[in-house]
């Protein structure tokens, strides 16, 4: 089991770095994450949308609407502050994961 905060933090990095490549809508983010991770990651959709909304409220994302096949679709793009936040989080993540790797993989070396 993952620690809830850790999970939320890592989901945040995932979303921000996906959106750093191109603006996407919610379902597209889910599909992209699944494809890129070859099926390992599957976002719980019920947590994705609140997370997107809270990232927008924090000013890390900005949403806009486009039309697709007669439907309105909400796209999210990363903001300048969002990019900064992502880099900071990424740095934390690197430190954390390398620490985990050092401990976990020690026996296998």
């Amino acid at each position: 089991m993952f620690d809830k905060e850790l999970l939320k933090g890592s989901t945040e990095i995932l979303i921000l770095s996906l959106l750093n490549r191109e603006p996407m809508y919610g379902y597209q983010i889910i599909k992209e994450a699944e494809n890129k991770s070859e099926g390992v990651f599957h976002f719980k959709e019920g947590t994705l949308y609140p997370l997107l909304h809270s990232l927008e409220a924090d000013g890390f994302l900005k949403s806009y609407w486009l039309e697709y096949e007669g439907r309105k679709r909400k796209y999210y793009r990363i903001t300048a502050t969002g990019k900064k936040h992502m880099e900071k989080k990424l740095e934390e993540w690197k430190i954390f994961s390398s620490a985990v790797n050092r401990i976990v993989l020690e026996g296998c070396m």
């Binding site: 919610g26 019920g46 809270s54 000013g59």
Partner: protein
């Protein structure tokens, strides 16, 4: 899939039921609908039956109430706490100063203190009402506010009762400082009128300038120089922010200066009247007397202040225009510096609120920021001897019921703007994409 199924609709509805702030329901509904439509299309393409696809899509989304609750906590209107804390700070500085003046028998009317407490309460009620009301509902009434303020201002100037050379509107024993609060009301109206104003078309641009110029001329003709200065400076900043051409801004500045000079030159009584506002009438020892007094007060203040030792008669209008030197003398330069820092933070905070809101909200924040900045900074600079002494007092701090209530209205509107922004109303679905 042409229509989203009933189950999906029910699911989305129960999500929205958890979200108290109904203004965001529509955008959440459309976003989730789009999600389900896309997902179900894919699931159908994978060969699932329609029922299975819907079932799976809903299952993946999870408990509707849980999702709704999470969204509710995000889309909750939140006021800007820094703005409110700073406002409370100013209001309390005012109350404490008036209280110590009352203790030191420095108030012309000891009743000013209790009156202030009543106005503070009234101001808070009005701020709370303005916070819960939607500020965008003001916009359609901009023209009414403009004409209404103009009308009441003319009535006050023609029939108002004079006090200290300034006309007040008296309704049922209550004197309202219409002249004093008119800049704020005009700026609220002009924020609405100028939102999306087409400055490129000559005829339209001229009309816009006339709207802005009428209050300036009226305030000047009625020798309300103080309100004129506050209005003009704020108006020019608003004009600049609503993307009017710099040429217009220069034109209106030039025109105002010309009217101002003509008005001064028109007769010696005007010069007198204007000098009244410059406090020269209270100048028994010639020009510069008040500045000398101010210097004396400030020089003897010290870092931590002299306590309740302020002598009566040293400075006039302690409770209004000269409350700042009183505060510095009584509570020290440290307090004065803290107060100035508070003022700077307050103005920055207001501009910060306006940074990420839609255009009308932005113009309102700029209007309020410039009105408050003009008053705070002019008063502080004139106290320090860097600007001419005119009857501009410190917002929220100086005595003056009408102005306090009007300023609290502005705080309420600002909180409403901030609340809507925090609740995410800004990403409203556009009607035509």
């Amino acid at each position: 899939m042409k229509e989203t199924e009933k189950q999906i609709q029910e699911y989305i509805e129960s999500v929205c039921n958890e979200i108290k702030y109904s203004a965001v329901h529509r955008q959440i509904k459309i976003e989730l609908e789009d999600h389900f439509t896309g997902l179900i299309e894919d699931l159908l393409a994978q060969g699932l039956s329609k029922d299975d696809a819907i079932h799976k899509a809903l299952e993946q989304m999870g408990d509707a109430q849980l999702v709704g609750k999470e969204l509710n906590s995000i889309h909750k209107p939140k006021p800007d706490w820094w703005l409110l804390i700073l406002t409370m700070f100013f209001v309390n500085v005012g109350i404490i100063s008036l209280y110590t003046m009352k203790k030191g028998s420095l108030l012309a009317n000891p009743g000013f203190f209790v009156k202030t407490l009543i106005y503070v309460l009234l101001g808070f009620v009005i701020a709370i009402v303005a916070y819960y009301a939607d500020y965008r509902k003001i916009k359609p009434f901009s023209k009414h506010i403009y004409l209404g303020t103009l009308f009441v201002l003319i009535i006050t100037m023609s029939f108002g009762s004079l006090s200290n050379g300034k006309p007040y509107l008296t309704i049922g024993g209550l004197s309202i400082d219409i002249v004093g609060i008119s800049p704020l009301l005009f700026m609220i109206a002009l924020s609405g009128l100028y939102d999306g104003w087409n400055w490129d078309e000559m005829k339209n641009a001229r009309l816009g300038l006339v709207y802005g110029a009428i209050p300036a001329v009226l305030l000047l003709v009625s020798s309300s120089a103080t309100a004129f200065i506050i209005y003009l400076l704020s108006f020019l900043i608003l004009l600049y922010s609503s993307k009017a051409k710099p040429a217009y801004i220069l034109t209106i500045t030039g025109a105002c200066l010309m009217v101002f000079s003509l008005w001064i030159l028109q007769g010696p009584h005007r010069i007198n009247r204007f000098s009244t506002l410059l406090y020269l009438h209270r100048d028994p020892l010639g020009a510069g007397y008040l500045n000398k007094q101010l210097n004396k007060v400030l020089n003897s203040a010290g870092f931590l202040g002299q306590g309740l030792t302020f002598k009566p008669g040293v400075l006039p209008e302690l409770h209004t225009d000269f409350i700042f030197p009183y505060i510095i003398y009584t509570f020290g330069w440290l307090s004065g510096i803290v107060l100035i820092a508070g003022v700077v933070a307050f103005i920055i905070r207001i501009l910060h609120i306006g940074k990420t809101v839609e255009s009308y909200g932005k113009l309102l924040t700029i209007s309020f920021a410039s009105i408050f900045a003009t008053q705070f900074l002019w008063n502080i600079f004139m106290t320090l001897g860097l600007l001419p002494l005119v009857g501009i007092s410190l917002p929220f701090i100086s005595y003056g019921g009408s102005q306090l209530v009007a300023n609290m209205l502005a705080i309420g509107i600002l909180s409403s703007i901030c609340g809507k922004k925090n609740a995410g109303v800004d990403s409203q679905v556009p009607d035509i994409v």
